[in-house]
Symmetry: C2
Subunit: 264 residues, 2 copies
């Protein structure tokens, strides 16, 4: 069975979270080049997801988009959030293409429906065929249409979990990798925790606060709970520092120093 | 029953077709402002579609994207075409938002599947809910995933026809408007033909050549045949010059001077 690896490029890694709409181009370029080094392996398939960082989180906070249509300005805010998220997506995809990667955006806001913030349906046929053709679908945290509340915010972690669960028939899900700005998840002394299991999670949970800068999806706390969710079905998540050289190659070679593995 | 109007902003109108990736910002701004004047009518709902002009048509021609995956470079070309089409879409949506329109992109490449270039399915639930919430979905000519040939190109006219046919249960389709750079469709003396019917079409067909600049979807000839297709089911198409002041308001008031109406 072919192996699928899902990679998240964190919003705080690929943007400067403290300045609106400022991409971190040198990191996006570095990661694009490192992804290029992985794609020649014929048995490995990839999905890339990225966060919104200082792009969509800013209007999403201003218009409280996560809550849905709460006032007459909410639909306009929904448009602004989509625009800002898509802008960063274009920057990421442009750099992937420049690194000769067959990258192709899949915009959640065009193909996914939620009900009270939970995914009801995501039309995955295009994405499945892209993967079959060895292309690299690029998804991202986005605003989406919600059956009940008008709109909702979907985080990259939730998207990648959904994909991992729904592509299990076709692929062996090798792992989900979250690339951020820290050497994995830290304990109270800011030291990397090598492994987190459902057993150790409850005692560690208090250390995982919100991320630096604005983050409407909940920062490290949200990442950890989504990672625990998918770990339950036997898919493990690796949290690593995207600034480290050749980090993706190392993780695929199972060199996990300075990484956190979340497992059952 | 609520009325739905579908408006196409032609690629040759909103871009300079002879210079790659050059938007015609003054026209995009003018049309955004004129669309803003229409949206307060509570019973009227709108979908906007736009062409790709000097954006996606350029890589689409280079990689012969319309033919599908014809060589090993085709998947990369598919990514480039999507990127270029999406870039123009962001420019259009940005200007609509700046004119205080609740605009929201629906990317065909994320939600639509073709088989040998014909639409097999388009996941329309998000678009339908957006309309219900009085938002304005913005679609555009795009590259899409094709079940048989890997990829295909879908023109804005084909997308708008598909929407008109599939939204007939919920809306009375008032008309489809194609805005281009000419006063409607011309006869052999470059005079506007006021009305074209299926009867007169066959004798006029020879006048409708390709559009100026690169156009992989077939120019005026393609527009006319798609307009004739939808006219068959009783939905009429108005072809007009998007440079004329207040052109959309005039058409909605049934002032059709310098326009061509395509009807059954």
């Amino acid at each position: 069975m072919n192996k699928l690896i899902l990679i998240k490029l964190g919003g705080s890694l690929i943007t400067n979270k403290n300045q609106p709409e400022s991409p971190n181009l040198s990191v996006i370029k570095k990661l694009s080049q490192e992804i290029n080094e992985l794609i020649n392996d014929k048995d490995k398939f990839f999905v890339i997801g990225h966060g919104s960082g200082s792009f969509a989180h800013v209007p999403a906070k201003q218009y409280e988009t996560k809550k849905g249509f709460i006032n007459e300005k909410s639909p306009f805010g929904m448009g602004l959030v989509q625009d800002s998220a898509a802008k960063l997506n274009r920057i990421v995809v442009k750099h992937l293409l420049e690194s000769e990667i067959n990258a192709y955006s899949i915009n959640p806001s065009s193909a996914l429906l939620t009900k009270n913030g939970k995914i009801v349906n995501w039309y995955l046929e295009p994405l499945k065929l892209l993967l079959k053709n060895k292309m690299i679908p690029v998804v991202y945290g986005d605003v989406v249409v919600d059956e009940n509340q008008g709109c909702a915010i979907i985080s990259t972690e939730v998207l990648l979990n959904y994909l991992a669960l729904n592509l299990q028939k076709e692929y062996e899900i090798e792992k989900i990798i979250y690339l951020g700005c820290t050497d994995g998840a830290w304990d109270e002394n800011q030291k990397t925790i090598p492994v987190i299991t459902s057993k150790s999670y409850s005692s560690l949970q208090k250390h995982f606060g919100a991320s630096g800068g604005i983050d409407v999806t909940g920062g490290m706390d949200h990442k950890m709970s989504e990672a625990m969710e998918i770990a339950k079905v036997g898919i493990h998540v690796v949290i690593a520092n995207g600034n480290m050289p050749h980090i993706l190659k190392k993780i695929l070679n199972k060199e996990y120093s300075n990484c956190t593995i979340i497992t059952k």
